[in-house]
């Protein structure tokens, strides 16, 4: 049975949101001197890449970028069995950095909690900020995003689908009703 899908953002819409977020990050951090981006797999890593390009377009600087797989830090492993574990790569020291965690969809907040635990094992960032493309509500932990592309109120049984092109650039965001 085909699910009913509503378009939230198209490719152009995503590009505009990412551009705005890039400006906001630079404004809030007064430039990009200690800035680092870390994408949360999967989805957040591609967005982080796009964000980095945008920041470079604006400030002319390529900020350090890394990606983290939070499977090993999940709080629900017992119920989920063995999920595939992806690579984590943070090729720069975190101490003293202003780290912007990037994810595609912010939901319960547990993924962000796991990502922060992972980061703490790597070092001691000066600050951790959060940029998300979509905030769909229903937080279960006291977590909030600093930079949001679009707020999309959803019901618990709905899904947000973020699709990517072959070159890993974001393609579209859709709301999927059951």
């Amino acid at each position: 049975m085909a699910k009913a899908e509503t378009a939230i953002l198209d490719q152009a819409g995503i590009a505009r949101a990412v551009t705005r977020i890039a400006h906001e990050i630079l404004e809030h951090n007064k430039g990009c001197e200690n800035l680092a981006l870390i994408g949360i797999r999967t989805g957040g890593d591609h967005l982080a890449s796009l964000l980095r390009t945008r920041i470079c377009d604006i400030e002319g600087v390529e900020v350090p970028i890394g990606e983290v797989d939070i499977t090993m830090y999940r709080d629900d492993l017992a119920a989920r069995g063995n999920l595939p574990i992806g690579k984590t790569s943070i090729p720069f020291p975190l101490d003293g950095k202003d780290v912007v965690l990037v994810d595609d969809v912010l939901y319960t907040g547990r993924t962000i909690r796991s990502a922060m635990d992972a980061l703490m094992d790597f070092g001691r960032p000066s600050t951790i900020q959060l940029a998300v493309l979509i905030d769909r509500g229903h937080r279960e932990l006291p977590i909030r995003a600093d930079y949001v592309g679009r707020n999309v109120p959803t019901a618990a049984d709905e899904e947000i689908s973020v699709t990517f092109n072959e070159d890993l650039s974001p393609l579209a965001v859709r709301l999927v009703k059951p």
């Binding site: 797989d69 090993m72 830090y73 017992a78 595939p84 574990i85 790597f122």
Partner: protein
């Protein structure tokens, strides 16, 4: 994910897909070993008992570190200090351990079939760290992972394994693993150490002359020749063994120029492998050890996932 094995008893029961899942997972865990804080909370609260009834330093250490890096509580018991000395049967020892609710028992034992014996009698997961002359699955997996890293593939590789084939569990596990992944195995050893029907276990050819066995191979794996075998009337002398079945700077040239040299350890320098080769650039023995921790972390993680799915 489709990894469904509750126990790791051997490579024999695994599919190619299972092996690939283990290797990919090990890749991800390997990154942790390079961090400053070498710990992730993945198996926090899980209890892993390392029951090593046969002496071992490197494998036990490897499993212990693997468990600890996953934040599990690991406890070691060894044969010489256990109740086994007081005559307790393996079954009673196992049941007593099980009453303390471990999630995983890692067992190394001198009797082939011991992990199977255990798996039939306890409810938790059983991981085979080496049983008699039967299998040593984590060793074969780390061997294959090391080969994959250095050669970018397993399929089509020619791998020579030289030594006491009859008594080697490393050989059997490697035969299964390499054959399932599409590699070809060449075995060589003294006539007294080639067991009947070994070629039936996989994609195997048996050679009696080491020079033929290692000609143009991609990987040379040397097995430890055990000094104790001498009393078994198997060899006239270690000197003769080293001469005809040992790897040295001269015969290593028969293999491909970029061939890698492996050894499950510990090495008998000057017997199965000369010091020059052991310390040479081709050898990846320390990579094997590093990969060993990652592979064992992967096995503990995967088996724990299956086990908790079954209990939840």
């Amino acid at each position: 994910m489709s990894f469904k094995h509750k126990h790791i008893l051997g490579i024999e029961q695994m599919s190619k897909e299972d092996i690939e899942i283990i290797l990919d997972t090990a890749d991800a865990f390997k990154e942790i070993n390079a961090r400053d804080i070498k710990k992730v909370p993945t198996l926090r609260g899980k209890t892993i008992i390392n029951a090593f009834f046969e002496a071992s330093t490197r494998t036990r250490l490897s499993f212990e570190i693997a468990g600890k890096r996953l934040s599990a509580d690991t406890v070691n018991i060894s044969g010489s200090t256990s109740s086994v000395v007081k005559g307790e049967t393996l079954e009673d020892t196992a049941k007593n351990i099980e009453a303390m609710a471990p999630d995983i028992i890692v067992i190394r034992h001198g009797h082939s079939g011991s992990p199977h014996y255990l798996a039939e009698r306890v409810g938790c997961s059983v991981v085979n760290a080496g049983d008699g002359a039967h299998e040593h699955p984590s060793q074969a997996l780390l061997d294959v992972m090391t080969m994959r890293e250095h050669k970018d593939r397993i399929e089509g590789l020619e791998v020579a394994i030289i030594g006491d084939i009859t008594h080697s569990r490393v050989v059997r596990s490697n035969i299964y693993c390499l054959s399932k992944m599409g590699a070809k195995v060449r075995l060589c050893g003294p006539g007294t150490m080639l067991p009947p029907g070994i070629e039936k276990l996989g994609n195997v050819k048996v050679y009696t002359d080491m020079r033929d066995a290692i000609k143009d191979v991609d990987v040379i794996m040397m097995l430890r020749i055990q000094m104790e075998r001498q009393s078994n009337i198997m060899l006239p002398s270690l000197r003769e063994y080293a001469r005809f079945y040992g790897l040295n700077p001269t015969n290593v040239k028969l293999a491909k120029s970029d061939a890698i040299v492996m050894h499950p350890g510990p090495m008998n320098r000057g017997v199965e492998i000369s010091s020059v080769v052991a310390d040479g650039v081709q050898n990846v023995i320390l990579d094997q050890v590093e990969n060993g921790v990652a592979v064992r972390m992967a096995l503990l993680y995967l088996v724990s996932g299956v086990e908790s799915m079954q209990t939840s």
